[in-house]
């Protein structure tokens, strides 16, 4: 019984970390579906979001929920600016250039954050309404911080699902991801779709940052977690929104199990080993469909 509880406990904390991976992976998937680009700066978007939330709470003494709202707005603006300044001029260039630009942004954001006064290279934390509150069920103890991650992730995914299924803009985005030229002929503004894609990804990044910071704290290397979300996205198939979340959960749970029961070191590579296995056995992921290349 004791062992079972321990395992359940490990799995639960894995799920909450997995939700973060899922959120970042969702950001990857959004941008990949629309533009076929993997945004390596997604983890850095999360870091920037976390830093903004930290400043709002610590320097301006705003409440948690106001901060959540304001960070979302600021991140939306940030995503829009990135798209307009860096990505828009590159539409139609080889994919590799676009990916490399996001890698450049990844390095740039990280070092710029380290230069900003009051942010810098130190580690920060901030209090949330969930800090130091626990939920107890039999012998399993879950902190509200972990629960809040799971609940907020679920709400976000629901919102995204409704957006893509029932709104006109969501349908336009799906159309653009299938065929840009046909979407243009149908009167969809592809530029606006791209812009919105980046806005949504940046918001997802900001959310992930706020949710993650009680667990790992706010520091300039937070973005590295973003790379771990890549196996999650691949596992889910890279085109599929539910797939990204499920992939994130699988990676999160595997990692926390590996951290608890395997020798040291396995935790860090577990995600990458899964990634290679998936790519070798089922390259189109759990939820993807095989794509045939046409000339």
């Amino acid at each position: 019984m004791n062992l079972l509880n321990e395992i359940l406990q490990t799995i639960l904390s894995g799920i909450s970390v997995g939700c973060i991976y899922g959120l970042i992976a969702l950001g990857f998937v959004m941008i990949f579906k629309a533009t076929e680009v993997i945004n390596f700066a997604q983890g850095e978007l999360m870091m920037v979001g976390a830093f903004i939330a930290f400043s709002l709470i610590s320097f301006f003494h705003l409440s948690y929920w106001t901060t959540l709202l304001l960070t979302t707005l600021i991140m939306a603006l940030f995503g829009m600016i990135i798209e307009r300044v860096v990505l828009r001029p590159l539409v139609g260039q080889p994919i590799f250039s676009l990916v490399m630009v996001t890698i450049g942004m990844m390095i740039f954001f990280k070092s710029v954050v380290s230069m900003i006064p009051f942010w810098g290279t130190d580690t920060y934390g901030f209090g949330t309404p969930f800090t130091e509150k626990l939920v107890r069920y039999n012998e399993i103890i879950v902190s509200w911080e972990h629960l809040s991650i799971i609940i907020l992730t679920l709400l976000l995914i629901l919102a995204l699902f409704i957006f893509f299924r029932f709104t006109k803009m969501g349908v336009a985005m799906r159309a653009t991801s299938q065929n840009q030229l046909a979407a243009v002929y149908m009167g969809i503004s592809v530029n606006r779709v791209f812009s919105l894609t980046w806005v949504i990804s940046a918001i997802l990044g900001g959310f992930a940052g706020i949710l993650l910071s009680p667990i790992t704290f706010v520091h300039m290397n937070m973005g590295l977690i973003g790379l771990k979300a890549m196996p999650a996205a691949i596992l889910g198939g890279f085109y599929s929104i539910p797939g990204a979340v499920v992939g994130g959960l699988i990676i999160g749970v595997t990692e926390s199990l590996a951290g608890a029961y395997l020798p040291i070191g396995w935790k860090d590579v577990a995600a990458w080993i899964i990634l290679i296995l998936v790519l070798v056995i089922r390259p189109y992921g759990l939820f993807g469909t095989e794509l045939k290349k046409k000339v």
Partner: protein, 357 residues
């Protein structure tokens, strides 16, 4: 502008397009061999690093620039070459064994890893190679009986018989000679059927297959050759800095190699060299100019990385063909002096079309 009438097929693939080109390169090589005698240790060390990174960048250029397979895990091959050379040298093996062994082992790893991974294309391959780089890094940390883990390995200066490479300048000559050999190898591979097949795969996989090119065979070959060159660069790197530990071979190194070939100019041998020069000179230029900068800027440790990231973005936005492309444009401007057209090098844009549900 010169026009050469080609009468034989061989004239199309010879190493030097014009006879004068050969003499210019001869002059360049002579210059590189003689001038360092007059330089001090600091500049010789910069030149050595340029040679080392150029070898590695050339390896990645063959893969990414000429075969179209972007690897983001070249730090892994660099590390394998580095550790092979370090272990052989500390066990008392000769230099003439260590450097080729480093290359060959990295190349073999390239094949072993390449076979399953190369079924993938495009970005999936890039991500798989990232995974590879992380796994190799973790193995280097954990396999302590062989690699000494985080403690790292200290390497003594190598020697060929009585010839000892202990001073900066002798290491420079070693790296330079290796670089020349690697450049010649790369140039010759590129004009052979293998190289032609690689370029065909880059331009269109479907068309290449239709021409009877076996994709797995040539992709694996390209991966192996690329890993071989990068491994050799790793070996030279070991001798240059004489102390290695896993922290030198992170994802950042892979990204730096990619940045080198992009800044240098994708799809040209010159590009790899230009990229390496740019990459080595930039941080040193920052150090040299630091005294003249305002104090606030001077104290930033992230300055170098920020500039580096910015450079990648700016180059892709404004000079996608890189430094070599800029050099070609300047040359073309003067060759056709009053008649230069601005759009000579313009590339056509393409729309994406992915068929999926």
């Amino acid at each position: 502008m010169r026009f050469v009438m080609k009468k034989k097929y061989y004239e199309d693939i010879r190493l030097f397009k014009y006879r004068s080109t050969f003499f210019w390169y001869l002059a360049l090589v002579t210059g590189c061999l003689t001038i360092p005698i007059a330089l001090d240790d600091y500049f010789i060390s910069i030149l050595t690093f340029i040679c080392i990174y150029a070898v590695g960048a050339l390896g990645l250029m063959l893969l990414a620039g000429f075969t179209g397979q972007v690897s983001m895990g070249h730090a892994a091959f660099f590390a394998i070459g580095s550790y092979t050379a370090a272990i052989i040298t500390t066990k008392g093996g000769p230099l003439l064994l260590a450097i080729p062994a480093a290359g060959i082992l990295a190349g073999l790893m390239g094949i072993i890893i390449g076979l399953p991974v190369l079924r993938l294309s495009g970005l999936y391959l890039s991500i798989a190679t990232i995974a590879l780089a992380f796994i190799v890094e973790e193995i280097l940390v954990r396999w302590e009986s062989l690699t000494r883990g985080n403690l790292g390995i200290y390497v003594e200066s190598p020697s060929i018989g009585p010839l000892e490479f202990s001073s900066g300048i002798s290491l420079y000559y070693l790296s330079f000679v290796v670089l020349i050999i690697v450049i010649l190898l790369a140039k010759n591979i590129l004009r052979s059927p293998t190289g032609r097949a690689m370029i065909a795969i880059r331009d269109s996989e479907v068309a290449a297959q239709a021409m009877g090119i076996s994709l797995p065979k040539f992709k694996t070959t390209a991966f192996a050759i690329s890993a071989f060159f990068t491994g050799i660069a790793g070996a030279l790197y070991t001798y240059k800095i004489s102390f290695i530990n896993p922290e030198s071979f992170t994802l950042l190194l892979s990204i730096e190699f990619l940045a080198m070939i992009i800044i240098g100019g994708l799809g040209s041998v010159h590009g790899a060299i230009f990229g390496a020069i740019f990459f080595v000179v930039l941080p040193n230029a920052i150090i040299l100019t630091k005294d003249y900068l305002p104090k606030f800027v001077r104290d930033q440790t992230g300055l170098e990385a920020a500039l580096f990231g910015l450079m990648i973005i700016l180059f892709i936005l404004f000079e996608p063909m890189g430094l070599y492309g800029r050099w070609l444009k300047i040359k073309y401007y003067f060759e056709t002096f009053p008649l230069y057209k601005k759009d000579t090098f313009k590339r056509e844009k393409s729309y994406q079309k992915v068929e999926r549900q």
